[in-house]
Symmetry: C2
Subunit: 215 residues, 2 copies
């Protein structure tokens, strides 16, 4: 039985070839998650250039050599932090847009984003820092915004085809405008969350372009 089990899920071996017990991998995953969370806090506060691997290691009381074992270069950690932040909370967004229209999907996602301001702050901090063309994270953000614009543009075109959005405007323009309002309103929300105007700002934009939801 054990042999069968190992055939289905072969243990990853170390460079030396000896099998590693499973609990080590669980520990590795936990440790990597801890490092990514600490890096998220440090980068959100000091940016990528300003945050150091040493500070991240100190925050969770691991040796710098252990951190470097998991993330050999600082840029590897940036990549992990960005992917983590970018993937949290999208949840049913794409399904919502297809079923109920972009307007519904956007307003629902805005509400759910209130649950993790620190990840949004991290993305906002790194987006501005990485806007510098010589920044190691620059291309990640160039491509992230290209993907976002293409995705929203396709969703606007889909909604135009079923009469939820007036067809008079270029869906690519509508997408870029939506992302602009979203990022800008989010900045004002991060600066002063007590004002709580995110939904109002998104509705102002969606109303002004005549976007409706499936009733």
């Amino acid at each position: 039985m054990r042999a069968d089990h190992r055939a289905v899920e072969p243990p990853i071996t170390r460079a030396g070839g000896e099998p590693r017990p499973r609990r080590i991998y669980a520990k590795t995953a936990t440790r990597k998650r801890q490092i990514v969370e600490a890096a998220t806090a440090v980068f959100a506060s000091k940016g990528y250039n300003g945050g150091s691997l040493r500070e991240i290691a100190t925050q969770i009381d691991v040796a710098l050599t252990s951190l470097v074992h998991h993330f050999p270069q600082k840029i590897d950690l940036l990549q992990a932090v960005l992917e983590h932040a970018d993937n949290v909370g999208n949840g049913p967004f794409h399904d919502n847009c297809r079923t109920h229209g972009l307007r519904y999907g956007v307003l629902d996602l805005v509400e759910r984003n209130f649950d993790h301001p620190e990840l949004l702050r991290l993305l906002a901090v790194l987006a501005t820092e990485c806007s510098a063309p010589d920044h190691p994270g620059h291309m990640w953000f160039v491509e992230r915004y290209e993907r976002s614009r293409a995705d929203f543009s396709a969703k606007f075109a889909f909604d135009q085809a079923r009469g939820l959005v007036p067809a008079s405007l270029d869906p690519a323009d509508l997408a870029e405008g939506l992302i602009s309002v979203w990022d800008g309103a989010q900045l004002q929300w991060l600066i002063d969350p007590s004002r709580n105007r995110m939904v109002a700002m998104m509705e102002l934009y969606l109303n002004s372009i005549g976007a409706t939801s499936v009733n």
Copy 2:
């Protein structure tokens, strides 16, 4: 003659009371300007928390003690950098809005802003970093956005009164939406200036709310 001249423009005295020769002030002003420029570059790249006074001093080859003489605390330098960046280039904006309408003033300012992307990048980097409530620059940005919203709201109300903007929408909402689109479109411009879509995005918003200029 010299006595009269000094009566009109009294020399600022040191704490000890002895008059300081004028050329010292010119040197002081030049040195302070150099420090603010170096701090602008360092903060734009590493943020405020990540940038150090030592690095700023090294950039312009002055002793750290000399820098601290001009800016005793790091927060003094942040204040100077922010005021400098915030005041560059507004030029005829307020006159333009009064004479030609907000739409004209905004589109003109967007064009002139293309001349100093690094100052806009600095403001964007610091705005996101300072969004954290415990950041020493936090209140500066809270108040900056309050002032901006109030200023644009007054300009929208003025344009509504003279028929340049439909009166159906709340001028405070229009102001907040304008600032949101502006900041968000600017972020996409800073990330990829070759796309050059700032004017198109501002026009999309101004068109969608029906804002016109004095013809």
